[in-house]
Symmetry: C2
Subunit: 205 residues, 2 copies
DNA sequence: TTAAAATAAATTGTATACAAAATTGAACAA
DNA sequence: TTGTTCAATTTTGTATACAATTTATTTTAA
């Protein structure tokens, strides 16, 4: 029994467009024309419209254009991230199960030793594990929605090898491991603050 | 120049369905059938589908049914609320402008003296003012999305005249007025915790 | 040459028809 | 009864056509 791959056109369309945005093929600010995309995929406009609406809700598309976040947008996004992921980190320090702690450790290790793609996946999983451990679908969902936009920048961060990123992950992991909630929260917030600043700096230059 | 009322069918449909859910006409768990709604409003299914998709994203509809939150759903929602609105309250204690402070005060007053509808509106505005003062559209948007679901319960809370609600608002207002960020945050979180418990209790009984 | 108006083109919004899928309900066997 | 299969019905998903709107282009007047 393989992974059930949906053949619903609007899901295909959603994934197709989303991937092209995240891969950078569709640059920020690009106007998305329903008919063009539909033709491109060999389907009708109806499911394309659906998927565009969905991507609009998620914030990847704004007014039919690929989102092009300003400095301020990023700041706002990270402010929310710091609150939620900060809480999540402190929560982990008290409640995280051994199994997940192992996985967290593994992410840090891969961060040091892996190939580019692996490192990116591991860094994403590091954050996902922490947020997921809250077991709060509302929180997980909010972070998920921000994830796409964040991803565009996380890619940047890893591609440009931000210094200390892995060390920061390790510090957070240690604080969680040693059941230090306040410290874990503080470190997570500081980590995200540095990420933000790196992104902002990179955007200018 | 009057308020431009959109005549776009999918916006009308969105507002129509939303209002019927929030007013309670469409009870929790009710299946929403596109064609029935379309007929009811004298439009076609296309814009109705759009609006249902939007309401699904906002969490008011789940799998074509009016959302019917469990205890756990409410807890999860309020956990996020406490984080965000707690932060917002502390932010207000440092940065809120006099004009908004006045409005906040007015909300507390109306809470004591107004009619039912006025009180409900004032209580909503109290929270909106505090969140709005963060000036963070991402945060405002997240709270907005949760608002609809919360609204169903805030209505409950006011209709059943939860004791001390207005006093708590006043306490928060005082803390903000006197520039006590930690206290404002603490009070806001405690306030929401009590709201949550009242809702949960009421759901059972 | 510039700005405004008119027109043409492109794009989105809506209705409708039909196909695919999900749901219901009846008939039947254990 | 209980549960299972199959057909009937309902509901959703998709394509297509056309209307309304927005955007681009050309024309005209100052």
């Amino acid at each position: 029994m393989g992974k059930k791959t949906t053949q619903l056109a609007y899901v295909q369309a959603y994934e197709y467009i989303r991937d092209r945005i995240l891969s950078g093929e569709l640059e920020r600010g690009t106007k998305l024309v329903e008919e063009r995309l539909a033709e491109e995929m060999g389907i009708s406009r109806t499911p394309v419209r659906d998927s565009i609406r969905k991507l609009e809700q998620e914030g990847l598309i704004k007014q039919k254009r690929v989102v092009n976040p300003t400095d301020m947008d990023l700041r706002d996004l990270f402010q929310v991230r710091m609150l939620l992921e900060g809480f999540a980190a402190s929560h982990c320090a008290t409640y995280m199960k051994d199994e997940d702690l192992q996985k967290l450790k593994r992410c840090v290790e891969i961060g040091r030793t892996g190939e580019l793609e692996e490192v990116m996946a591991a860094n994403k999983e590091f954050h996902d594990l922490i947020v997921g451990a809250t077991n709060n679908p509302v929180m997980i969902d909010i972070i998920d929605r921000m994830q796409s936009i964040i991803y565009l920048f996380r890619k940047t961060v890893v591609l440009h090898k931000r210094p200390l990123l892995i060390e920061e992950h390790d510090d957070i992991y240690q604080a969680i491991l040693q059941h230090q909630p306040e410290e874990a929260e503080r470190l997570m917030k500081a980590h995200l603050q540095l990420d933000l600043e790196f992104c902002l700096n990179w955007m200018k230059g």
